[in-house]
Symmetry: C2
Subunit: 165 residues, 2 copies
DNA sequence: AGATGTCTGTAACAATATTGCATTATTCTG
DNA sequence: CAGAATAATGCAATATTGTTACAGACATCT
């Protein structure tokens, strides 16, 4: 049993972020992608919440002094993060979240979205992907991308009445 | 083998639409939903294409004389069609398509989207849903909605080089 | 340093979706 | 059938999400 797939509310969030940033630098080095200061700061915004954030929400959380990043800049940076696999798009919400799992392609993964705390979690689901594959193959459909997003209530939110984050 | 899940290019599209409209009236009667002239015409637009159409695309295709439906009107009508189960939302494209299957809830269904011809098809995928359920249950996640959309190339488009519709 | 390519900034704009309120139809009740 | 209540549609404005085109800044490599 994978148990709760969402981060524990009491987890050490600071080190969780730093660890992810470290991994991100490694991954970018491997892939020859430049994780610039700006890109890292966008990734940090995503990592800070365990939620999926809209592009404009990222802009708001990013603005330090009075400076506001232009939409196009955020979208460009998001594109980079997406194609490096450091973040994913939540199609059902037009939003983006940082990837914490160690998967390569999105193959065999599924996304859980909690309606209570808005947090997002990824999980392995090879059986589901196998079943999908058998449907598509028997109908002659050549798959290029699979979107598997599940909305509901996470274990923490079900326990505590109040949202977990 | 379900074979090709998309409508044959040569199918009798006129009667296919009329049959679906007939079913829609039955369903609305059952559910005490009023399928007004305007709502039916929006449904017809969706049925006419076997594709997922954006709200503004519906507006364009709908305008007869010079009159253009306001966005809000289309969105309201779409909401009605969605909640009656006569149409579904394609989350990955912010678009909507008419439902041709006979399923009750969206449970156990999956959506195929062809990148070539832009057509949409639904398929039964009970095994995939079973596998998903086992992941969510073991992690204590209470599912309210599952989004399962698959992009790729349909059998017709793979055969013909040129898109099937 | 100079050439090249990548990254970021600025401004305008396109596409998608919603809010609030007014008006018209339809249904319900007496 | 009149009048009230409810549902459907119209209208205007605006919010949210995403893109295009072009210019300037920064890094990297000879």
């Amino acid at each position: 049993m994978p148990d709760n797939l969402f981060p524990r509310p009491e987890h050490d969030h600071g080190s969780c972020i730093e660890h992810a940033i470290g991994r991100a630098h490694e991954i970018c080095a491997e892939k020859s992608v430049r994780l610039t200061a700006l890109r890292e700061s966008v990734l940090r915004v995503l990592l800070s919440s365990h939620k999926a954030l809209g592009a404009y929400e990222i802009i708001e959380r990013l603005q330090t002094d009075g400076r506001r990043l232009a939409p196009i800049s955020v979208y460009r940076i998001i594109d980079v993060l997406l194609s490096a696999g450091l973040a994913h798009r939540l199609e059902s919400k037009n939003a983006f979240f940082a990837c914490l799992s160690e998967h390569d392609s999105a193959n065999s993964m599924l996304v859980l979205v909690c309606d209570g705390c808005y947090r997002v979690a990824e999980a392995e689901a090879p059986d589901a992907w196998g079943a999908i594959k058998s449907v598509t193959q028997s109908s002659g459909f050549a798959v290029t991308e699979t979107i598997l997003e599940i909305q509901g209530t996470c274990a923490d939110c079900r326990k505590t009445t109040r949202p977990a984050a």
